[in-house]
Amino acid sequence: MNAPPIPEAPRKLRVATVSLGGCFGCHMSLLDIDERLLELIEKVDFDRSPLTDIKTVGECDVGLIEGGLCNAENVEVLRAFRAHCRVLVAVGACAITGGLPALRNHLDVGDMLQSVYGEVPDDPELPLPLNRVLPIHEVVHIDHALPGCPPPADAFWQLLQDLIAGRTPVQAPGLIRYD
């Protein structure tokens, strides 16, 4: 007797995450889905992410971007994400609007560097800061946005469930809060 064929496990969604000019608060909020993480990793593989410590992004289904663009390296990383991720999501106020770091935008970044460091290092290892902190949608096309500072854990959960199921993510009104 032939054994019944073992159904092939559905391909897992490959997800990369990064914090650009953010505080990692959005990532912490993602971790707040708590024990649902176990359910999540049944359906998701993490590519480049602070959770995996993989340093370069590979071909992915979804990229979650926390934080805005503060420096040249942020721009390059964001571009790599856009090039490798089918769906790119701006996560949190900083990614969507520049957020708190953008409060520096009315000051001259060169003057600030000089007044803080006196002699400003010219090491090519150090990424140069941009004149203005930019929201990520100014530089690449963004497919979805997850508002909040940070977005609540349930909003991450909902977003990932939608993407796993192949649905266009919609935020339940209760998950968007302005206070």
Partner: protein
């Protein structure tokens, strides 16, 4: 007299005091007080605002908030002569930008700046309602100069440089004509003596309401609300005091019919207001006259004075015992949103022109919380006719749902711009035919808040059930780029947004930036389908998420032109990938300056590789 900001000087304080006394130090008249004071002081230094606040018992924050709200109030120094070029699309089509550049070059100032000696400042303003005799400009928020051309601008520069006072400029420059091309009953007017008014008013208020109900009259200001229902609601609202307000803000670009009705048929307008007051039981009437029409004020005041002498206004008006009604004129100060009825009422109360939350509607709680009827100039004019000739007569004109006649302000690419009055239900094609526009590719009906109608739909009729109109009719021939028309209107809305709600304040600006990206994308084809997608998103947000009609209709030109003239957008968005609208390498300039780095890592390329 140029005043400095440090302390209010004696003569300035005296000027303000005289104005304050004229308005009996009434805080409700703050907008009028600021306007009249500024007419003498050119601008409103903080010290003067402090002085006015103290005199009216208002906080300085309130007075500064009001002074900062209206475009025609200046809280920083301006020239002794202030010139504002009317910046409607029709002015531009007549060459206003080149004339502005010519004048600025002669005077040695840039638009928006004051001449070094403080003699003059030149800037732009929204449509001045002179589209059939433009390009036009506004002088000192008081007079208008029409029919500008190279020669007139040169002569104007001569006058300004020679310091010739405005009163000595040639009269011809200030000539404003009615420009009636086709008159029907409203523009033909009532018989010269309006003495039949007392007989009309002697009828019971209910009889007047019934007459208006029978006429089927709907408001001419844009929304088309049945006039009788509005009046009845006001009459039925509780409270001892009521108001009637004539909306003469006429801010919708391309609209200039109310100007002509006020200039040549003011008695009809006041008749209509008086009938409304009798019908709803109002004691107080206001005309809210847009600041751009300041030049009409003396003659309107004269008509009111004459009517008071004739006993048509005041105690026992028109000889009717117990019917006390008078009309005051308040001027606006360059804010389109003040045409919105609840913002208008705020402005009448001396506040910033911020639209109120509705309900309560003005008919329930309007001016000072009193039940208030707000109607358009043309609506009141129609009432003057209906009250005399009967509702049935009016209902016999036009279509079943759109009774009576409607005045169209025709401008743009046509041989005979001006006013055209037709029964409602007249087709766009007929109007185009009569104004001489065989090459028309589109008409903006009802102004930027209205609809952009392409040639394929010229057979449609102007009526509430087909294409409703607030009165503008701007014609664009085949040489015009409808994308640029939409971009111009987008700038108008961004400029006029009152800033109260985020979807409108931010959204209108985002629309402008996105359209600018399409207009002068760096190099060819740097905009993409993603930009078009964002425009659709913005349209959705503004349409559904704003507090008042301004934001809700701000994307109408965008939406209509994307639908009917999609090619104009497609040819501007050919990039395969999303491309930034920022020079990213330039964003590293400050850091490069202080690090003196020149290595590859100190640079960024802007384009997304395809």
């Amino acid at each position: 007299m140029v005043v400095n900001a440090a302390a209010v000087s004696e003569p300035t304080a005296e000027t303000a005091d005289a104005v304050l006394d004229r308005w009996q130090r009434d805080p409700l008249a703050l907008v009028q007080i600021l306007r009249e004071t500024q007419a003498a002081t050119y601008w409103l230094p903080r010290s003067l605002l402090v002085h006015i606040a103290a005199a009216l018992g208002l906080t300085v924050a309130h007075v500064e908030g009001v002074a900062g709200f209206y475009r025609f109030f200046h809280t920083s120094p301006v020239g002794c002569v202030r010139l504002l070029f009317s910046d409607n699309i029709t002015d531009r089509m007549l060459g206003s930008e080149a004339l502005l550049a010519q004048l600025c070059a002669r005077l040695g100032v840039a638009p928006g700046e004051v001449d070094a000696q403080g003699r003059f400042s030149v800037d732009r303003c929204s449509c001045t309602g002179l589209c059939d005799q433009g390009p036009a400009l506004l002088v000192n928020h008081h007079q208008v100069v029409t029919r500008l051309d190279g020669a007139r601008v040169d002569a104007l520069a001569d006058c300004l440089l020679a310091g010739t006072p405005v009163e000595e400029w040639p009269d011809e420059w200030f000539r404003v004509v009615d420009g009636v091309q086709r008159a029907d009953l409203l523009l033909t007017g009532l018989a010269a003596d309006a003495s039949s008014l007392p007989a009309v008013l002697a009828r019971s208020p209910q009889a007047l309401l019934d007459e208006v109900a029978q006429s089927g009259l709907r408001g001419r200001g844009g929304a088309g609300f049945p006039t009788e229902r509005k009046w009845q609601a006001c009459r039925d609202a509780p409270g001892p005091l009521r108001c009637v307000v004539c909306n003469a803000d006429e801010g919708e670009p391309g609209t200039f019919k109310d100007r002509v009705l006020l200039a040549s048929h003011a008695d009809s307008v006041f008749d209509g207001m008086t009938v409304a007051a009798r019908a709803v039981g109002a004691q107080q009437g206001f005309v809210y006259l847009r600041g751009e029409y300041r030049f009409l004020l003396p003659q309107l005041e004269q008509v009111l004075a004459r009517r008071r002498v004739a006993g048509l206004l005041g105690r026992n008006a028109a000889g009717i015992a117990g019917f006390d009604f008078d009309i005051a004129i308040h001027l606006g100060a360059g804010a389109y949103v003040c045409g919105e009825e609840s913002a208008l009422i705020e402005s009448l109360e001396g506040k910033r022109g911020t639209p109120r939350i509705r309900p309560p509607f003005p008919v329930q709680a309007g001016y000072l919380g009193r039940p208030t009827v707000v109607n358009n100039v043309e609506t009141f004019c129609a009432v003057a006719h209906i009250a005399r000739r009967g509702g049935a007569w009016w209902a016999g004109i036009g279509t079943a749902q759109s009774t009576g006649t409607k005045i169209h302000s025709v401008s743009g690419d046509c041989a005979r711009p001006g006013l055209y009055e037709y029964p409602l239900g007249t087709t766009i094609a007929q109007i185009l035919d009569e104004c001489g526009a065989p090459q028309a590719q589109a008409v903006q009906v009802g102004g930027p808040s209205g609809a952009c109608i392409p040639a394929s739909e010229f057979g449609r009729a102007i009526a509430f059930e087909d294409v409703p109109s607030a009165g503008a009719f701007m014609v664009f021939d085949r040489s015009r780029d409808l994308f640029e028309v939409a971009r111009h209107f987008a700038r108008f809305f961004a400029h006029e947004s009152c800033g109260l709600c985020t979807p409108c304040r931010v959204g209108t600006e985002l629309v402008v930036r996105r359209l600018d990206k399409l207009a002068h994308a760096r190099g060819a084809g740097h905009a993409s389908a993603f930009d078009i997608e964002r425009l659709h998103d913005l349209d959705t947000v503004l349409h559904s998420g704003t507090h008042c009609g301004l934001g809700a209709s701000a994307c109408n030109p965008l939406r209509d032109t994307m639908r009917h003239f999609g090619a104009a957008y497609a040819q501007r968005s050919t990039a395969a990938q999303f491309q930034p609208d920022i020079d990213l390498d330039a964003e590293l300039s400050s850091a490069r300056r202080v690090t003196r780095r020149t290595d590859a890592g100190a640079h960024l390329h802007t384009d997304t590789p395809t």
